[in-house]
Amino acid sequence: MNRKEIETMIDLYFDGELEKAKEPILFMMLSQESEGREYFKKLHALQTGMTTSMNEFPRGLDEKILRSIGKQNERNAITFINRKIFNAVTYSFTAILLILTIFFYSRSEEYKTEFADLTREVKQQNEKLELLMNALPAVEVTGAYLRTKQIIVKPTM
């Protein structure tokens, strides 16, 4: 393995991307290669320098962010409640409309039945009247109106 390959392997190790199986190979090489050991040491120092260079998160900013998120959360909660109320009203209105629809539908069905009954009754009465009319005896109408000024109606039985 050349120097660059060893250094790449060391980089991978420090970045936590080196396969576990390759770790013993790396350490074996480090025990033999002084240049590799030197690079390992330098990289470690660099990483230490970086880790310790991290600044603490400013407290003021922390408070600012958390306050703003809190407000946003409250706003979201209010919107959520408003939406819930709106949904409840909409659902109630829909339910009332549904009940009214069912009520009017059943009423119309009743009217339909009543109308059908009445129609049938009228029809029957009409038939009865027709029968009565047909049951009356035939008549002969004769007359000499001009002469006697009488009209003679004779039933033919």
Partner: protein
């Protein structure tokens, strides 16, 4: 709602220092950095429900911060190559800096920071995402929208450059 705020607080506490340090080192301006970090976390809270996979949170936060940083560069018309202070051939330790072999941690830290400021913005970006963001190569490639191998090679070159600069003291 409560679940959201609890989840947010957990993620916020995990990531805030890393994000802040990344942005601060990329910008060098504390005020702008604080504004950016606040905006990123507010945006994150708004979009939390749409970020389904919790493993993606890291990538989302760093991508949003990085976009904000580069957007700031653009609005301020800061040319990215302005950060390219010196070429590799010109790299030399400032002779006025007297350093002992056993340099104290504080001095080492200051030196690393100085050298970091002199790096090209792409190199600094990848290096900070790795060191401060603690992101994997794949995550960095997603944040920067570049190939994973390019991430590795940029990281390697940056380290070589920094080690070369610091070789006299470490």
């Amino acid at each position: 709602m409560t679940k959201n705020i609890v989840e947010f607080t957990l993620i916020y506490n995990q990531q805030k220092t890393r994000l802040y340090n990344y942005a601060r080192k990329m910008l060098g301006d504390t005020m702008t950095c604080e504004d950016i970090i606040q905006n990123v976390f507010e945006k994150f809270f708004e979009n939390m429900s749409s970020i389904q996979n919790s493993e993606r949170v890291n990538v989302w936060l760093f991508t949003a911060t990085r976009n904000a940083v580069f957007s700031y560069y653009r609005t301020k018309k800061i040319r990215v190559d302005q950060f390219n202070v010196m070429d590799t051939a010109e790299l030399e330790i400032d002779s006025s800096v007297k350093l002992d072999e056993e340099l104290e941690l504080k001095e080492l830290r200051e030196l690393v920071m100085n050298e970091l400021d002199k790096l090209e913005v792409e190199q600094r970006d990848v290096f900070l995402l790795k060191e401060y963001g603690n992101l994997s190569y794949r995550e960095i490639s997603e944040v920067m929208n570049i190939d994973e191998n390019l991430v590795k090679s940029r990281l390697y070159k940056t380290r070589q450059r920094l080690i070369a600069k610091l070789s006299k003291v470490i």
